[in-house]
Symmetry: C2
């Protein structure tokens, strides 16, 4: 298996939450690199001392613990993993060439800021607002469709950084569609993205580690109920 030479880092730990889009990508990165790690599920309603100490600024998962160091923010963690386990035998996550790296970072930011939050906005919106929010989300998805067109993976022939960042699309997006009562990723409208989700979900490391759909449904519908109850109780 690719990455076998990079194993044996007993001090690598992840603090995460199984239903989190942002945690899953970090686990995938370590699995692709072949780095062994210890995973601790955080109870986000009652965060551990270790989480509060390791990410005192945001107090959020995921956190990568590596010996004495703690790294937060999933995109920052992905780059740190790529740079820490950079031996020849480890599959590379980011491209080599500076311009291609810049493109990958640009689209990662776009996916996180516009596509995930745009989709979530559409998911939670109601009434008139919902139509508008869906339109915004579709526009962002259309830009991603254009970007992946003609490519096997975002970075080329091999799965890499940007695939992991977009890795919530095959499973989480469908759940958001379900709990939000909407349809975004119409196969006819997004043929390339559709084809990519199929290829991505077929990569062994991904296939073997996608969380049960039910867990994500519970997580997202719980979040939605909570937000709506807050909104209903607003003065």
């Amino acid at each position: 298996m690719a990455g076998d030479h990079c194993r044996h880092h007993p001090q690598v730990k992840i603090l995460g939450s199984k239903a989190s889009i942002f945690c899953m990508r970090v686990e995938w990165a370590l699995k692709l690199k072949g780095v062994e790690y210890e995973y601790t599920e955080e109870n986000l309603m009652n965060k551990s001392e270790l989480l509060l100490k390791s990410n005192p600024v945001h107090k959020k998962v995921p956190v990568l613990l590596h010996g004495e160091t703690a790294v937060s923010e999933s995109l920052v963690i992905l780059e740190c993993i790529d740079e820490t386990w950079s031996e020849e035998a480890c599959p590379r996550l980011l491209p080599i060439e500076p311009y291609e790296r810049a493109q990958a970072r640009f689209w990662a930011k776009f996916l996180d800021e516009k596509v995930i939050f745009g989709t979530w906005d559409a998911c939670k919106a109601e009434g008139e607002e919902k139509e508008k929010a869906i339109e915004v989300a579709l526009k962002s998805l259309a830009l991603v469709e254009e970007h992946i067109m003609g490519k096997k993976f975002f970075g080329g022939e091999q799965i890499g950084y940007l695939d992991l960042v977009a890795g919530w699309l095959p499973l989480w997006l469908g759940v958001m569609e379900e709990v939000g009562g909407m349809k975004l990723l119409h196969p006819g409208q997004f043929p390339s993205l559709h084809e990519w989700t199929r290829k991505f979900a077929d990569v062994t490391v991904i296939k073997e580690s996608l969380p049960p759909r039910e867990e994500i449904v519970n997580h997202l519908s719980g979040g939605l109920r909570y937000l709506r109850s807050l909104a209903a109780n607003k003065p």
Copy 2:
């Protein structure tokens, strides 16, 4: 001068706006690296064809044009500059060690997402909202104060990536305080940040290229008037 060996890249162009926090940091990076570039001031009320073509997703400055390639998003551009002009003779912007790089990226994101926008929120808020917004901004600044404590520059002895990202503090923050009718960076409360702003603004490249204060006052007070007129006309 450091970076002299990296000169002569006639195809490097910047599309920018002189009063923009996000554009200035890109120019500083090129100047520190000793890379010659052509600067084009964009009229943000009437954007050029070149800007619309170069950053079709966001249509925003800054854009770095380098031969046939175009890179957007200022933090992405800074990393691209660091990787493109990485010869021994060029001063390095990001640290070398993966964990230190991760820390720099983490704080850059925090500065851009929490500190700049927190300060801007406080600047534009009015009435009761203003006190709350000022409190939030002060909390974020306190975390930056803690992070810079005991250091000369954010990355150590030399000016680097995170200093450029925080580089709006010495001039733009004061202008926001002025146009927003508030005081945030009390020297007694933020002694280390205060000391850093002095050292940063004293670096030759920075000193020689800070835009006239009046330009920033006009830019930000214009922005504020515009936002308030929008809010006043809301149904």
